[in-house]
């Protein structure tokens, strides 16, 4: 079974149709933020509604995480011998917001600003009950 990484309330939901990111939309100025939060950083408004964000977008900026992050807080692989670099980038969801995420592609030769990306799940670790602990990521759209 797949379970979202702890603290994913207001961030990520697993639906039958696939993963969905949750954001907030300002009912006064229409600005989107991710994840859900109570106030609008654009207009200072305090009336935000929770919305599901789009699942496709374009890569805006990217890098590759080349060394194991410290644990805590990281729950993925931290053994330098087993660690595999992962991509990190901002994906612009049209008309909404740029979301920071892991990327399933980690080869700099295969990453370019402007390329089409879609939301997927990425497994970080396995918990004591044998569940796959997942977070969200973006993958290049095939073709």
């Amino acid at each position: 079974m797949k379970v979202p990484v702890s603290g994913s309330d207001g961030v990520l939901v697993l639906t039958e149709a696939g993963p969905r990111l949750l954001g907030a939309r300002c009912t006064r100025c229409g600005n989107y933020v991710f994840p859900v939060q109570s106030g609008c950083p654009k207009c200072t408004g305090d009336q935000m509604e929770t919305v599901e964000l789009g699942t496709r977008g374009t890569l805006w900026a990217w890098t590759v995480q080349g060394f194991p992050p410290k644990a805590p807080p990281y729950i993925g692989e931290t053994d330098p011998k087993k660690f595999r670099p992962y991509g990190v980038g901002y994906v612009e969801l049209p008309g909404q917001v740029k979301v920071e995420a892991r990327l399933t592609e980690a080869d700099p030769a295969k990453l370019t600003a402007g390329m089409a990306m879609e939301l997927v799940l990425d497994t970080l670790s396995t918990d004591a009950e044998g569940n796959e602990v997942v977070t969200f990521a973006f993958a290049p759209v095939a073709g």
Binding site: P4, V5, S6, V33, K42, W60, T63, Q65, K70, V99
Partner: protein
């Protein structure tokens, strides 16, 4: 330009790693050196502002320095902690409340990249790393404005050469461009030797009313401006789970403009600058964000040596964060310490030639904050 506030004493504890000496004790050593430099005692200090990010409350140092009853306020403002302590001291003297006091910053961090965040999804997912932001920002900038990898290597090589001339710096070995480019790739396109590391160190500055400065120093340096700004909507910041669709300038641009307005001068009047170089790309981008060139002009400026100590605009003459490491609480004050040395003409073999008159400092850090100072003699 107003001459309201002067720096009359400077003290530093060597940056890097000092086993067996706490962060606060490094701050205490810096305070004693700054007091000696100004020829005053701790009992002459009417106020203090101080801070560290990871080495405890600054105000408890009074138990070692002397329980004189002075006003001591702790400052905690992320990477702008030192700059904020200095801004507070500057404002306190300008307000007329006190005549003389001290700003101090120190720190002692664990080895490796900064550990950020608790147990939430962001850190758990491997996204709470400041290094990723710097990789993404310069990667995008290089593509937009034609900055080369070799230019990044030149910036880091310059930092190592300048640091090798600074007895207070952590890194004392000059590195070649090849060594820098061939070191492990930490966050594409940035390699290990292009990054600074969290470190240890302490800096203290004695400040006073400009009209009494000559009592304490025959070479007072005047603080013409001190500005601290937080981020505005649309800016691209470190440790941000999302960014808006709209793109706007960062806090560095705002802090720089505010400081130049306060000082009544422009970037063309600056003789040397210490700019936040968390990594080599940050120095490149901050040259433009602080108004010293247009986006993209850095490529030619750096390739032709304009930011070297003998160049048109020397940048990070003490080796910057890359050679000194980044003890958060002390980092911004280190830049001011270096500028005071340079303006006094006391920087030894790394002295900027032709008697520099105006010097600039800039810090940037989490969660999107910037501090700028302008000094003149």
């Amino acid at each position: 330009m107003s001459d309201d506030v002067a720096i009359v004493g400077i003290g530093i504890h060597r940056f890097g790693r000092t086993e067996g000496v706490s962060g606060q004790d490094q701050g205490v050593i810096a305070v004693r050196r700054a007091l000696a430099d100004a020829g005053v005692g701790w009992e002459d200090m009417q106020f203090a502002f101080g801070g560290s990010a990871a080495a405890g409350a600054a105000d408890t140092m009074v138990s070692k320095l002397g329980l004189t009853g002075l006003q001591f306020i702790n400052v905690a403002n992320g990477c702008a902690t030192g700059g904020s302590a200095l801004f507070s001291a500057y404002s306190t003297i300008r307000s007329g409340l006190y005549d003389i006091g001290i700003a101090v910053g120190f720190d002692k961090h664990e080895r490796g990249a900064f550990r950020v965040g608790g147990t939430n999804w962001y850190g758990a997912s491997g996204l709470a790393l400041t290094t990723q932001f710097f990789g993404m920002k310069i990667n995008r900038y290089m593509e937009q404005y034609g900055i080369s990898e070799n230019t990044l290597a030149k910036v880091a090589a310059k930092a190592s050469r300048n640091g090798a001339m600074n007895p207070m710096a952590w890194r004392s070995k000059p590195l070649s461009e090849e060594e820098i480019l061939n070191s492990p790739m930490l966050s594409y396109p940035l390699t290990q030797y292009m990054f600074c590391s969290p470190a240890e160190g302490g800096v203290a500055l004695v400040l006073c009313r400009a009209d009494i400065a000559h009592r304490y120093s025959d070479k007072p340096i005047f603080l013409k401006a001190a500005a601290v700004k937080s981020r505005r909507f649309g800016s691209f910041e470190v440790l941000a789970p999302s960014l808006s669709i709209e793109y706007g300038v960062g806090p560095t641009v705002d802090a720089s403009k505010a400081a130049f307005e306060m000082a009544g001068i422009g970037p063309e009047d600056v003789d040397l600058a210490q700019l936040q170089d968390t990594e080599a790309g940050a120095e490149v981008m901050h040259m433009a964000e602080n108004g010293f060139c247009a986006d993209g002009d850095q490529e030619l400026m750096i390739q032709s040596g304009e930011t070297e100590i003998g160049g048109r605009l020397p940048v990070n003459t003490d080796g910057g964060c890359i050679a000194n490491g980044e003890p958060i609480g002390a980092s911004g004050l280190r830049q001011v310490y270096e500028n005071v040395l340079q303006l006094r003409g006391d920087a030894g073999n790394r002295q900027v030639p032709n008697n520099p008159k105006v010097a600039y400092t800039h810090v940037y850090g989490a969660p999107g904050i910037s501090g700028v100072t302008i000094l003149a003699r």
